[in-house]
Symmetry: C2
Subunit: 116 residues, 2 copies
């Protein structure tokens, strides 16, 4: 994980509303309107947060049809596990983001999070 990835991840997690979203989704997937109701948050605002979180790989969204034909946008948590200490952070800072056409990733090619 290079410094840009790390920052995107931290920005996605480091917000009061967004960790509440994580707390709510921890017990299972939910669709947007229901999630908005539970958190007492406007739906457009929730969209913004979920978008940001999806870009950072924290959640994944999926459009689904309910029994009665309604389209529901479900979101669930993506598995992630990031450790923050002096070593991991300074390692990320040192990552110089190599040229796209360059195979010499010095430590972790593209991703350190998730439990595959």
């Amino acid at each position: 994980m290079d410094s840009e990835e790390l920052l995107a991840f931290l920005a996605a997690v480091g917000h009061a509303q967004r960790i509440r979203i994580i707390g709510e989704l921890a017990s299972g997937q939910l669709y947007v309107s229901e999630l908005a109701r539970r958190l007492g948050v406007s739906r457009p605002l929730l969209y913004m947060h979920l978008e940001r979180m999806e870009k950072a790989g924290l959640v994944v969204g999926r459009l689904e049809l309910s029994d009665d034909g309604k389209a529901l946008k479900y979101f669930e948590l993506a598995p992630f596990d990031v450790r923050l200490n002096v070593d991991t952070i300074s390692a990320a800072v040192r990552q110089v983001r190599p040229d796209p056409s360059d195979g010499t990733g010095d430590d972790e090619p593209h991703s350190a999070k998730g439990t595959p």
Copy 2:
């Protein structure tokens, strides 16, 4: 670690300049002006960042006198090690911040970071 602490910590780490500061301090303590020079950052700006980081427990500052009597404000990294995954985050969200006069911390009374 409750959700407020977690957010303060994440806000302190989740910033491009601040992880650069961590990267620089990883090799040892530095005083403010020297650090500002190395990072190419104005000193007042650096002060703001260091203040924020100190409040979050990321760094500690200490005023010292150099050989020639100059007062130097040295900063060094505080040891920290935080793990971020669904469990740790939702645990923090569930922390209801008990009354100050209450001894029943359900998991970790006041701090989960550092290695005392």
